[in-house]
Symmetry: C2
Subunit: 297 residues, 2 copies
């Protein structure tokens, strides 16, 4: 699959069978539920210690693999007659090298590739993707089989950015792009027309927690409002690691005293959309899908 | 004074009289002591609530101004026959607008300019600089009257970067440059050849604290070493807000588990040099002045 193809919607045939390799968070749950709704009940490959317990994922057929057993992924997918694989959710555990049985040539490559999922390292992710696809199984992005997860342009919910918020959205987008280009992070917070905090390896949750603390400690010069902007990095591998927001992002942005959230339309995922909009409306935050052309002033 | 001139050393004549507008931190102390050593005892304008108490600054002639009284700076400088002003140290307080007597035309501009010092906003800083210089008083950078404060190229102290550290120094420099170009921050932490944390408005101390916490919580994937790199932003107003390191930076980098510190030679200040080197040597950290050409691989 080429990069251009990676952006396209995948139309599933009736006989196709989708597996979700499910890391942590709400993304695999959203994907599974959406697929089931249209009659494509997915097979869930739970990653031990990563997949969140207590979700609807447990109601679908599936199997659990330790990070160390990832050499067993391909045989499992073949036994289940899987035609499409979605890699979804976070993977924070690293393989314990001693626990890996050195039986397959995959061994030396897969664990690095799994790690790469978390780190946004496209080079290594492509190794994993290539290995699966070499075996005749397509690797597709969550948004390709469930396109309704993609952020759309414009306002989601009741509240809209005011003029000053657009300055922040532009500054945040510019900053998020710059750090994305360096493969450092996906998100930036802008207040008063300037980016004031950038996401590194700590992730968006801790970025917003930091802004909350800075605001609490008076380190943000008496400025109200402000936004968090997430965007995909230029040339991003679109089949994994797309920027994602959900209801928890709204809560964290609210706790940080921000006025709203901007995401890149068509290249970001919005999880639990209904709940996100309900919460943003209730807390008075706007959520807006950016075209990416906002930086041109 | 033009930007080109701002980079040059200022040779003080015997009759010249230097005032230091002293914010917080060690920089004003370093500048005052170095000037006194060569016979130019400075006049200290202490900023109420900002200038650190208990330093040698108290042994020099001087006066204290509240942030709100900054309209009184020019008359004070003139009364003292000041020929050169150094703006040095941090200013975190904001003027209480009610406490300002609305008597001078400066009022609407100076407080914003003072704020700008802290925020690295060159445009506003230049307003302050221009106002002072319009009155025949030169505003000079700390490094122009005390050039020995500037970081030199190469290693300071005993320890030197190993090969892997140079990958980190390059990645850190590239990231610090990128955020500097956007006027967001001056510092980046790189570990394992990748930038993993970026400075925003929180400053270098909190950046390093964050890396310490990330390391403690296992969020930095088992990687040892790593560096913090500070550099001036492209086109930076060189008379204030130069990137600065000191003994406390060494402590914080050590606490974050980093192997060393990189600063841009000729465009960064090293405070309390002797103590910094002694501490880096004892803790096993390297401190290196970068030429800025390290990013070319």
């Amino acid at each position: 699959m080429t990069k251009a193809e990676a952006g396209r919607k995948t139309v599933l045939a009736a006989a196709d069978k989708v597996a979700i390799v499910a890391g942590s968070g709400r993304l695999p749950v959203n994907v599974a539920e959406s697929l089931a709704l249209v009659g494509h009940v997915p097979f869930i490959v739970r990653i031990a210690g990563e997949t969140d317990p207590g979700t609807s994922l447990e109601t679908y057929p599936g199997s659990t693999l330790a990070v160390e057993q990832f050499a067993g992924l391909l045989p499992l997918l073949r036994r289940q007659g899987i035609t499409h694989v979605v890699l979804a959710g976070g993977v924070s555990r690293r393989p314990m090298w001693r626990a890996i049985r050195p039986s397959l040539s995959l061994l030396s490559i897969l664990p690095r590739a799994i790690l790469a999922l978390r780190r946004g390292d496209d080079g290594l992710l492509r190794i994993l993707v290539d290995l699966i696809e070499d075996n005749g199984i397509k690797v597709v992005g969550a948004h390709q089989v469930v396109p309704e997860l993609l952020a759309v342009e414009g306002r989601m919910g009741t509240h809209a950015p005011i003029a000053a918020d657009w300055d922040d959205l532009r500054a945040g987008l510019e900053a998020a792009r710059a750090i994305g280009a360096l493969d450092i992070g996906q998100a930036a917070v802008a207040i008063g027309g300037r980016a004031i905090a950038l996401e590194g390896i700590e992730g968006t949750d801790l970025l917003l927690e930091r802004v909350r603390d800075l605001r609490k400690n008076g380190r943000i010069a008496g400025r109200k409002r402000g936004v968090v902007v997430k965007c995909a990095k230029p040339g991003q591998e679109l089949r994994a690691d797309l920027p994602t927001i959900g209801p928890a992002t709204v809560d964290a942005a609210h706790a940080a005293g921000l006025a709203g959230i901007g995401v890149e339309a068509g290249r970001s995922l919005v999880l639990d959309f209904g709940e996100l909009v309900e919460r943003a409306d209730r807390l008075g935050l706007f959520v807006v899908g950016l075209t990416g052309r906002e930086t041109a002033r």
